[in-house]
Every structure is written in structure tokens, then in C-alpha cells.
Amino acid sequence: MSSDRLTPVQLARQAERGRRFRQPAPYLRLACLVLAALVPLVVPSFQVLDLAAKIAIFAALVASYDVVLGYTGIVSFGHAMFFGFGAYAVALSLGKFGAPTYAHLAAGFLAGVALSATIAVLIGAFSLRVKAIFFAMITLAFAEFALILAVQLTHITGGEDGLSPKLPGIFAVSYEGGRLLGIPVTGRLVTYYFILAICLALFLVMARFIHSPLGRTLQAIRDNELRAEALGFRTFVFQIASSSFGSVVATVLGGCYVMWVRYANPESVLGIHVMLDLLLMVIIGGIGTLYGGIIGATFLLTAQTLLPHLRTVAASVFAGSMIMQRMTERWLLYFGILFILMVFFFPKGVIGTVRDALARRAPSPVSSPPHPASPLRGEEKR
């Protein structure tokens, strides 16, 4: 490929590649990773480790949701359902077929992924073929259905009580691997690093996905579906591919979640609250930024961990007033208000807003490609 015969796209890519390590973003991401890796070495508290593991899982989960919502522009309310499929598949595989082995663990992940991929393609085929707006309604209905199934099929899923699987070998609670660098190597620690590695791998895969030609097509569909269709892309096939990809990633993360908390019940992995948390995180971090999930998950999960303490404080301060107590109890209300305000005033979230501010302050002298448009900008009328 001679340099004088480059297409505009290739030129843009070259410019992007040249800029890649001159921007703060990659170093910030690396810092997040190093921070997450250091947590168990520096802070011996289980609460902090628990929070760090959940942040890692949810950051990746939000990123996978962002692939569907921010990079493809379709609203799905079934993402938590796929997370739940992964969680239940792994929990069932470990818990229902005798003593847990590594093979059970792998089979659980595989079964979950296969199930999710099938269902995601089916839902997509029913709804996206007609109108992308159906997708929101149908995924919501399916998610509700899955929740009811998980509650009702008590002999398989354990109903409301859920499942508490035991993990095999080096992941088990009882595992003791001596000491390394003065830190006792326990099953928890091994699981933590395993999950961190999976989340890192998933982030890399997702970054590759959105920067691939397929990912670029998806962004084109998001920005102008009619034009993408006119260019000869079968948009609904691409949309199905994207939603299935996001769902499969969510399924793997659901499995990781069960490996960490060793527990799966309908409310914690399938419930509407998981979906609400996910939406809040993606809005706070920034739609269409992929890495916004790290910020969103850190903020929300930290807040949720601290809130119970806040509530006991508030209860002692406002001991006399019933309505004040109720107001402090209803923290979801404040998240809801925050959510609306974010959508109105910072629709690009933290990362998007910061990016815009940076771009305004230092206009690039190179004829760089225009910044990817906000996924929420113009959407052509039906």
C-alpha cells in the first residue's frame, strides 16, 4: 500500500494512530487497571476488595451495554436479563451436577453464552426487523418474563432463594496457596485476579469490536439509518450482530459475578434494579464512550456502599420526623432526579463532557476527522 494512494479513512486512521499515545486517555485507563490490580495488595479489607471486583464487573457490563446503546443506537431493557442468564448458567452448572470442577465452570459459561446468543438473535429478528423502537418494549417484556420464570421454576432455579454454588479448585473459599510477597493467597484473591483478567480481555475485545469495520458501520447506522440503508447495508443484520455481541459479553460477566458473590437470585441478577443501575451508570459515565462505564460504576457502586451508613446517620438526626426518614430512605429518588438532570444537561456524561471541553480548548491543527457525533443527536423521523 503506497502512501500516496491512501483513502480518507486510512488517512484518518493513521492520524489517529499517531495521536494515540500523546493523549491522556490511554494512560488514565492503564492507571485504572493498575489501581484495580493493586487493591488487594494495598488494602487488606474485604469490603474494599468486594467493591473493586464489583466495579470491574459492572464497568465492563456498562461498556457492553454501551456497545448496544451508544454505538448502535438501540435501546435495550434486556441487558440485565443476559447478565442473569450468565449468572444462572454458571450457578446451575456448578451447583446441580455433583462436585464442581473446572469443566463444570467452563460448561456453565459456554451454555450461558450459547443461550444468550440464541435468544438475542431471536429477539432481534422479531423486533428490529420492524422498527428499532419495538426493541425497547419487547426486551422489557422478555426481561420481565425471564424474572417470572426464575422465580417460578423453583426446582431448577431455587425460586426467590436463588442458588449458592461452590467453586472448584483454586477458586474455592477453602483454597490456601501459601504466601506471595507477604500476601496470603486465598481463593478470593485468585478469583479477583481471574475476574480482573476477564474484564480486561472483554474491554480489549469490545474496543476492537467498535473500531472494526463492523463497529464503524454500526455507528453509521446509529447516526443515520436511512443513509446507511441506502448505502447498501442491511441495517437490521448489523443491529442484531451488535445486540448479540453485547448480550454475550454481558453473559460472561454474569458468570463472573456469580463466581465473585457465589450467589444468584432473581432480584440480584435479573431484577429491574440491575437494569436501572446499568442505565444510571451508562448515563453518568457517558453514552458512546465505552470507558465511561468505569466512572459510572465506580460512582454508583461506591455511593450504594456508603448510603446505608448515611441512612443510619440521617435516622439519628431526623429521629422525630417520619417524612424526613422516608425521604432519606428513598435514595433511588435522588438517583432518578440525577438521571433526568444528566440526560438534560450532560447527555454525554462525564467522559463525553470532558472530551468536548478538551476538544474546544485545543483545536487540533491537523485536519483530524470530526469527533464522533453524539449518539443522541439527530435521529431521523420515521
Binding site: R129, F134, I272, G336, F339, V343, L376
Partner: protein
């Protein structure tokens, strides 16, 4: 013929379960199913009109439903505690209690609807993803407000004495309240249809569903009609909320969310923007839910999903969808 096909198919569906049960059970279930369908229709009608006219998918509709139920609950509780209108064995007082609850709920819902439309929905017209996200955010807030004001737990709805119990018609047990719900649903459907086909406002609204821009070009301020339809849709949702609270004899903060799922299924089956489609869809959902819940209890929710998928396969725009 093409327009009659969905109706004929529904009629066939009505009669199919007769093969599996005796006639008395069938009548009881049919009455319950029709009542449930009519109550879902009240929610779905508003949803489908709001979508049809404004292209807004209103996820906050379920929360308005809950608000209606709670306002109705408060009024009914107040009237019953003060004067014992629900417990009194007097038909006029009982009816008055129901009417007062419904009226209060609808008034509050109209206010809530106007507020929602002006503050939440208007800034994001024409942007689907935004609308879905923002109305969902509004749902969280509105539902949490219910929990704050009325508390998070289930409460028992006072049901007027006249509407409790059942009639015994030729050895068939017919519950009273479902009959009231069916009558009310039919009246509402007739009312909406007359409003849409016989009045000037209805004409403009129908034209707006067809082609909003053209209506604006012809000099009508379509945003005013948006607000009105939104308020009317919210009032219908609140009416549905009060009726549902009496039907199930309880109120819960999350009741709206569950009804919204049914309403979505109904709107998809009936076709977005079609009131008649919503009625038919609601009856299909209500009846099949009740029949299947009797025959195979665990499959009850599944049957509605199955019907929805089937209809999407056969008619991607729903039974009466405009196909735009």
C-alpha cells in the same frame, strides 16, 4: 375482508378453550378475562395515542397508573372512614364513592400528565433514545414519590359493598366488579371513538397521527394537541389505576410497572397508534391470560409473549398497525 380477519381470529380464540373446560367455568373465566382486558385497554389506549400522535414512547405511563390508583385509594379511604360510604349498603353512596375516587385520580393525572409533557417530554421531541431514557428516569422519580408519600408496602383498597361478591346467573357465578369494569371499558372505548370520529378535535388528532407536519402547515398548533392528548392519556391511565386497585383490592407502588408490560404487549399486538387495535389486543391478552392461567397456571405470562411473537411474525406492524 383484511380488516375483518383479526376480529374473526379473535372470535375463534374466544371459543377454543371451550373444548378444554365446562361451560360454567368458561363463562366465569371469560368475564374475568374481558374485565382484565378492558382495564389493560384503558392503559394501552393512552399509550397508543401518545405514540401515534407524538411519536413518544412514554415509559412513565405506568407510573401515572400507579399515581391514579393511590389517589383513588386515598379518596376512597377518606370517604369510607369519614362517612362509611364503601361499607354502607346503599347503591348510590357506593357508586358515588367510586365516581369520586375516579374523578380525583383523573384530575391529579391530568395535572401530572401536563407537567410530564411540558417538563420532561417536550425538550426531547423527535429523539427516541432520549425519550425512552428520560421517561424512564421520570418513572423512577414518580414511583419513588409514591413510596415516600404513601409508604413502600401494599395496602388494602376499600371496595364498595355493591361491587363486592357476585351474581348468580343461571348457576353461573359472575363476579360483580368485573362486570362494572367491562361496562366502563366499553363506554370509554365508545367515548374515544366518538371523540375521534365525530368531533373537530378528533379529526385533527387523527390527521396528526397520519401526518403531523401537514397539520402544522395547515395552521394548527399541533403542540397544543400533543399536550391535550398526553393529559387525556394520563387520565385514562389513572382511571385504569383506580379500577385495577378495586379489581385486585390492593395498591402497590410497583403495580404500574407490571401493567405497563401488559400494555406494551397489547400496543404491539394491536399496532402502534390504533385505538381499536389496542382494544382487540387487550381483549386477546386478558382472555388468553385467564384461560391459560386456569388450564396451565405456570404458562400464563408466556402465552402473551407467544401471541405477541406470533403476531409480529404474521403482521409486523400489529393487527391494525398503520405500517409507517
Amino acid at each position: 375482508m383484511r380488516r375483518a380477519a383479526p376480529i374473526l381470529a379473535t372470535a375463534a380464540l374466544f371459543l377454543l378453550p371451550l373444548a378444554f373446560m365446562d361451560a360454567r367455568t368458561y363463562v366465569t373465566l371469560t368475564v374475568a378475562g374481558l374485565a382484565m382486558g378492558m382495564l389493560i385497554f384503558l392503559v394501552a389506549a393512552g399509550l397508543t395515542l401518545i405514540f401515534g400522535l407524538m411519536d413518544v414512547l412514554n415509559f412513565a405511563h405506568g407510573a401515572v397508573f400507579s399515581w391514579g390508583a393511590y389517589v383513588g385509594f386515598s379518596v376512597a379511604l377518606l370517604l369510607n372512614q369519614r362517612w362509611g360510604w364503601a361499607a354502607a349498603p346503599s347503591v348510590p353512596l357506593n357508586v358515588l364513592l367510586l365516581a369520586a375516587s375516579i374523578l380525583a385520580a383523573m384530575v391529579v393525572a391530568v395535572g401530572l400528565g401536563i407537567l410530564l409533557e411540558r417538563v420532561i417530554v417536550r425538550p426531547v421531541y423527535g429523539r427516541h433514545m432520549f425519550q425512552i431514557l428520560i421517561t424512564l428516569g421520570a418513572t423512577i422519580v414518580i414511583e419513588e414519590l409514591i413510596r415516600m408519600i404513601w409508604g413502600p408496602n401494599d395496602q388494602v383498597m376499600p371496595v364498595p359493598l355493591t361491587f363486592q361478591g357476585s351474581w348468580d346467573v343461571a348457576d353461573v357465578i359472575v363476579l360483580r366488579f368485573p362486570v362494572v369494569a367491562i361496562v366502563l371499558g366499553v363506554l370509554v372505548y365508545l367515548g374515544i371513538t366518538l371523540l375521534l370520529t365525530r368531533t373537530r378535535v378528533g379529526l385533527i388528532v387523527r390527521a396528526g397521527v397520519e401526518n403531523g407536519e401537514m397539520i402544522q402547515v395547515l395552521g394548527h398548533n399541533i403542540y397544543r394537541y400533543f399536550t391535550r392528548v398526553f393529559a387525556a392519556g394520563s387520565a385514562l391511565a389513572a382511571l385504569g389505576g383506580v379500577m385495577w386497585a378495586m379489581f385486585s383490592q390492593s395498591v402497590r407502588p410497583a403495580m404500574g410497572g407490571e401493567q405497563l408490560i401488559f400494555a406494551f404487549i397489547v400496543v404491539i399486538i394491536g399496532g402502534l397508534g390504533s385505538v381499536t387495535g389496542s382494544l382487540l389486543g387487550a381483549l386477546i391478552v386478558g382472555l388468553s391470560y385467564n384461560y391459560v392461567a386456569f388450564l396451565v397456571p405456570k404458562a400464563a405470562i408466556g402465552i402473551n409473549m407467544a401471541i405477541m411473537v406470533l403476531i409480529l411474525l404474521l403482521r409486523p406492524t400489529g393487527l391494525f398497525g398503520a405500517g409507517k
